[in-house]
Amino acid sequence: MIITALIIAISVITLFAVLGLVLVYMERKVAAFMQIRLGPMRVGPWGIAQTLADTVKLISKEDIIPNGADKFLFNLAPLMVTVIATLALAPLPFSDKWIIWDSNVGVFYVAAISSLTVISILTGGWASNNKYSLIGAMRSGAQIVSYELSVGLSLVAMVLLSGSLSFSDIVMTQQDAWWIFKGHLPAWIAFMVFIIASTAELNRNPFDLPEAESELTAGFHTEYSGMKFALFMLSEYINMFIVSAVAATLFLGGWMPLHFGQDNFFNHIMDYIPPLVWFAGKVFFIIFLIMWFRWTFPRLRIDQLLTLEWKYLLPISLINVLAAAWITVTGWHF
């Protein structure tokens, strides 16, 4: 048991490192291409080793703790944010066999863990003893707490449709078709609300108010440098991966191949592609979508951010839950 635990721990850490490297590189390339630039080109062919070089740089940088900061909490915050991101990884099914912890309350668990992220941001912002950081922390508090509702409700809609809280069960219910195809309008609406609200929970543009570059310089992590900053950044990308994985699992069938109808030639071809590839493909599609948002839209103002949640997303997702319940009760989905 200890050996299994060790193997899992090592593979999770490896996954973290690789994901961090790949996603940062991907973000920079996506941004560059949208901005008619080439992006990193120097380190390795097409700049592939750029993020590796950046990591080395970040490790070797001086670790600055500002005067008057609460040292204990200042050091704790980046650790907390990384640990929370790690915890949320546990119940996600990467393929039909690869799942760390097949929990029967997986969806609920991920929602619960992701609600803790705000604490580390609040702590980081408060402990920095910087006014910009404090404003950023306050903003992120208001933002994450409100958007959690919409995320939760869109999850509830999907849980209603699939009738289970367990990720592996939810994937199994999509054997014939993904929920986005057979869930009618409620699944679509839940998908969109989930993507929007989780972008907000990730503090990414257009909802990046806690770090608003042009207003608060870097918001809650203004004072962080070196590896501590890297941990904040890493956990942002890990969280992005988790959100995309959840969306892929709930709406796009997780590791399930694309199937149309019953037992035909097309389905058999699709079955040859390994489940892990399906899963990764879907996850990276959603990650790309979130990146696309970031490099297109301007940032919202704080009151508009809250208006969007409380006047639009929340009522819509409440009605959507009702509709999903109706569909489930009447059995309208295929």
Binding site: N104, L122, G141, E148
Partner: protein, 170 residues
Amino acid sequence: MKAILFYIFSVLILACGIFTVTSRKIYRAAIFLLLTVVSVAALYFLMEYTFLGVVQLVIYAGGIVVLILFAVLLTHDSGSLLPPLGVKRTVATFALTGTGLTVFLYTILGRKVEPGSGEFNEPSVKMIGGQLLDLYNFGFVLPFEAISILLLAAMVGCIVLAMKFSKTMN
């Protein structure tokens, strides 16, 4: 393995609990409270009572501690040390906690605890949900609805209190 984890978490709970009440920085106290709450959730997970563990995380860590932190952030001077307790207060606190501990131990020790069968089955989520919204079979639909209405009333009250009324509205 489980026993080791149990002791680790128990020590964490106790230590963080003590730090929570002795820390003189209010924000640190809240963070220690968070660690306590999360460690309790970890114990639930250890007992494979995952649903309760998750509920613990959502309500206590994700809800109450965040609320406390928010309140702390909104107050200025949250970074300065709280004044140390006076002698009177220290004595009173010790007396109160001592009484509580005595009552608690008395009750626990007075009862004979039977060792369980060893097998423990977590009620499925479906069962919990069914029981919560059941009209019959000792279901909890009435308290559930009553609490819903109470919370709704509280929410409306909050909004009314927080709303700013312009002079022209009067």
